[in-house]
């Protein structure tokens, strides 16, 4: 296959996935049903994973799938079930802030798009850069970024303990 075809394919793929993701995201924040929202979120996250692959980050894509779709989503669903949100539609999932929310979001979006457009107009992603290998990533994690890694581990530990303490029924 020719490089150009690859590029085209990539672009097309990007477009499709992006569209799906945006729709999913929109549904997440608009749907009347918590469970549906969770499922839509799955779609978005999966899309993100696909994008990672397009961005030549296989390892991350895998992590994304495992951590999010594997763990986080399950957590979400559990949470939803445990809080006995009825599976069906619900009235008041939104509060009165919709009036504020929309303008803010739009304003923010407009600003960002302008800024991005202004910043890197039609800058292409280099196609020939050496891809980042998982080894490099791990070298970094256990090399220069070791300290943050430790901190992170503590965070996770704390989170785990915290979650247990909080959710413990006593």
């Amino acid at each position: 296959m020719l490089a150009s075809d690859v590029l085209v394919a990539q672009n097309v793929g990007f477009a499709i996935i992006a569209a799906i993701m945006v729709i999913g995201a929109l549904r997440v924040v608009t749907t009347k049903n918590v469970v549906h929202a969770a499922l839509w979120l799955v779609v978005v996250l999966a899309g993100a994973a696909a994008q990672y692959i397009l961005l030549a980050a296989e390892f991350l894509a895998v992590t994304q799938v495992m951590v999010y779709i594997g763990a986080v989503m399950v957590l979400f669903l559990f949470g939803t079930m445990l809080t006995r949100a009825q599976i069906g539609a619900e009235k008041n999932l939104n509060n009165k802030n919709a009036i504020i929310g929309l303008p803010i979001a739009v304003l923010l979006l407009a600003t960002m798009l302008i800024a991005l457009n202004d910043g890197f107009k039609a800058e292409k992603l280099p196609a020939d850069t050496p891809l980042v290998t998982t080894q490099q990533v791990s070298d970094q994690i256990f090399g220069i970024y070791l300290l943050p890694f430790w901190a992170l581990s503590f965070v996770l530990l704390a989170a785990a303990i915290g979650a247990i303490v909080l959710a413990r029924r006593d």
């Binding site: 918590v34 509060n95 929310g101 739009v106 292409k124 490099q136 909080l166």
Partner: protein
């Protein structure tokens, strides 16, 4: 592929997430919106990492994911507690922090 297409996708997701955070009442949904935001960030990170050919982006994306996981864990635990205490997960009912 343009750099911007990824960045803009990130931006869109981000704003949708913001909207969700502001508008949603159900704590769980707010948490989900936050997940959206985090992912948009990740996309940006990776895009730039590809652009500069440096692995930093990957590393941080990983960290972000990890933090997100932790956050979801704690967050949901809190939601659970909240529900246990007040039979509802509506954030509007929470106003102890009212000054």
């Amino acid at each position: 592929m343009l750099l911007n297409q990824f960045l803009m996708l990130g931006a869109v997701l981000f704003c949708i997430g913001v909207y969700g955070v502001i508008v949603r009442k159900n704590a769980v949904l707010v948490l989900m919106s936050i997940e959206l935001i985090l992912n948009s960030v990740n996309i940006n990170l990776l895009a730039f990492s590809l652009r500069n050919g440096s692995p930093d982006g990957h590393t941080f994306a990983l960290y972000v994911i990890a933090v997100a996981a932790a956050e979801v864990g704690v967050g949901l635990a809190m939601v659970l507690l909240m529900y246990r205490n007040r039979r509802s997960v509506g954030l509007d009912d929470l106003s102890e922090m009212k000054g």
